[in-house]
């Protein structure tokens, strides 16, 4: 762990992540105002003593809205990824462990799904499902599944041929023990690393869907939606698009940097 924090990537990533997660966990309680309350006399204002980050078109406090939107924005990324990674990993592990025709059938289908670009795939699914946060979450998860399955499979495959797994096979261990105690613990780190980085993509896709009107819906304080709603006013008060936009960037950056640092720390090839 000492090595982990010796890289600037890890320090910056962890710092950002702590900020974002704090906002996600305690944001609604930290917010100085009710995020939905109108302040008709203080509309579209820049930062001031009363409103640290300014206000939006209804005079709602931007800081409070951003803090309030943190849980839904971050949770979206985390849960969509968790779901996609969970299902994808199970599929990938099944493919990787079974091998043979099961593996090749699963891989053919995954290749087919991977032929559709991520955002397009998500967009199709979410439109089919009819928009909304839950559907967007499901869509991102579904879109992540094939890629994650692939990564999980290759992680399993690379572990499967390690000598300690062979040793377990030679010992006559049960398949359950081999997968559970020998393969999975060692295949987990690439999956965890990938999942961490993917949270940042999920946050970005979620925000994009919110922006396109297919994700979170008013009066939600999801950050992508906040940018979309404020776009009309962006020349009058750039703060109301910049604040949620940069919040998204910060959250995505945090997960991204943290994931990369994690990868470096876990990859024996890179550490010396």
């Amino acid at each position: 762990m000492r090595d982990f924090f010796s890289s600037p990537t890890a320090v910056v990533g962890t710092t950002l992540l702590v900020i974002v997660l704090t906002a996600a966990l305690f944001g609604p309680w930290l917010a100085p105002y009710d995020p939905q309350t109108f302040h008709p006399i203080a509309r579209l204002q820049g930062p001031s003593a009363a409103h640290w980050l300014g206000t939006d078109q209804f005079g709602r406090d931007l800081l409070s809205r951003v803090l309030n939107g943190a849980p839904s924005t971050v949770a979206f990324g985390v849960f969509a990824t968790a779901l996609g990674v969970g299902v994808g990993s199970v599929i990938g592990v099944i493919a990787g462990v079974s091998g043979g025709w099961v593996d090749s059938t699963i891989m053919r289908i995954l290749d087919g799904l991977l032929a559709v670009p991520d955002l397009l795939f998500t967009l199709l699914i979410v439109t089919m499902l009819g928009g909304g946060m839950e559907h967007a979450l499901l869509a991102v998860a579904v879109a992540f599944t094939p890629g994650m399955a692939r990564i999980a499979r290759s992680a399993v495959l690379s572990v499967r041929t390690r000598d300690y797994v062979r040793a377990a096979i030679a010992r006559g261990e049960s398949g359950f023990y081999i997968v559970g105690c020998e393969v999975l613990p060692n295949a987990l780190s690439p999956i965890v690393v990938e999942a961490t980085i993917r949270v940042s993509f999920a946050i970005m896709i979620g925000a994009t869907l919110g922006f396109l009107g297919l994700g979170a819906q008013p009066p939600s304080t999801e950050w992508g939606l906040m940018v979309a709603e404020a776009r009309q006013f962006m020349f009058r008060n750039p703060w109301c698009v910049a604040i949620p936009g940069l919040s998204i960037a910060m959250a995505a950056l945090g997960f991204n940097l943290f994931g990369d640092a994690l990868r470096d720390a876990l990859d024996p090839r890179r550490s010396h």
Partner: protein, 564 residues
Amino acid sequence: MTSPLTPAVTETTKAALAIRNYSLSYRTADGIVSALKNIDLTIAKGQTVGLVGESGSGKSSMAWSIMRYLPPNAVETAGAIRLAGEEILDYTPRQMLDIRGRRMAMVFQDPSTSLNPTIRLGEQIAEVLMRHRGLTKVEAMQEAEAALARTGITHPKDMLQRYPHEASGGEKQRVVIATAFACEPELIIFDEPTTALDILTARQILDLFNQLREETNVSALYISHDLGLVSRVVDEVSVLHKGVIVESGKVDDVFRRPKADYTRQLIGAVPNPDRWIGIDAPVNPEPLISLETIGVHYNAPTMLQKIFQPKEAEKAGFWGAKNVSMDVRKGELLGVVGESGSGKSTIAKVLAGLQEFDGKLQFDGKTFASRKDIDRAYRRRVQLVFQHPDASLNPRQTIGTIIGRPLKLYGIVPADKVAARVADLLEMVRLPADYAKRHPHQLSGGEKQRVAIARAFAAEPDLVICDEVTAALDVSVQAAVAELLVKLQKDTGTACVFITHDLNLIRQLAHRIAVMHHGALVDFFDGPDARSDDRDPYTKALLDAVPVHAAAEQSQDMMEGSAR
């Protein structure tokens, strides 16, 4: 420390390379780490000097220092390195650019990584000629062809057009050597040039080296961990230990009358085929396990292929083992030797139940005709130790868990006795009992291999298969592991199949030796008969290819004393 051979000043000026009182350190997170201390080394014109040491001794750092190719965190604290009397420590990087490749060249350990995979071999030789001798591309290619021809490649013109992956390991190393000799340098550094090659190929490269050295009268620094090998090619040798040259001198002097303890220890660790260290042969040999016409076909053609493309199907895949029949006797140590790809590891996998096979295995009255038949009882009684201890121990488990696992799996001891038994096993392989709490990455390579061996013996097996268990270890560690195995065999009466490419080592240990080549069993004989005339020609070739250092036979007594 003072070198025993302090050369005269006049000699220094004449020397191709003279290193004086040179020290090198690296700045690391843990502070400054010393790599080389007060090195004195002289290579006279036309002379070859050996630099021998185990991994971590600093022998590679020495090569980089001479080539002036050091990482940014290197700190040269003192000394001089002179090439034909010129102080190269003072040279600018630009000046060094003109010296490297022209006046000093280097041959690397692994030709498959030191050649650029995307550039044709011809260009890789020619670029040096164009750079240093100012030849045009056409001239350089002609010259490259000639250089390659000198290395004994049969169709040099054809070879120039190939990519590295289209050439064999030996051919690639010849290309590297041709490149090194291309500009007729004053000094060539050979950094373990045969380690990555097979026995026979290594021998050929060694011969080539000797031949070229005579032809060109080049000076050379030959870096190796292999004492036997060094004794065949060098005039003088320096032994490097932890960054310090502990001894140097004429090769015969050093090997016959080593002065430093470390040299003695090192020489003692070198396998000497004439020094038996194994246990006595079993008195009444009973077969334990027998292999009957075992065959393994990798990438075998599918049924469909056989029907529709019989021609292609014939060629598809290759035989890892073909029609191999032999037996292992109770309590004996059977050696299986061969070059890489000979099928020796395939036999290990078949025995360990890791590889599907044709034919039959007979074990204790039971017959196994397929991998699926192999039951847990068999698996308990036949244990496998892998080549790389790094890979065979699960990095996420503690040593205690790893060694305890067979105990639990096979119910060898009651659950509450597992910890105690693990401690016993650790002690048996000469490791402290508190290692049980550690993770593999906290152990050294030799210690990890001991753990792997302890795990195998934990199952109280009848047969332990050792697949190149010493190959990844340093010489001194190798010897200790081999001894440990013998001791365990003595204590437990377990039979052992010892798979190796090291003929010297196996002749010290094995009661019987099987020789494999291209998947087939070509020779099978009792250990003492290794040198008899009715050996297969391939066996003879292998035995001839293996270097045995000149001093070995003559100073046997003394070495035995130093090893114990």
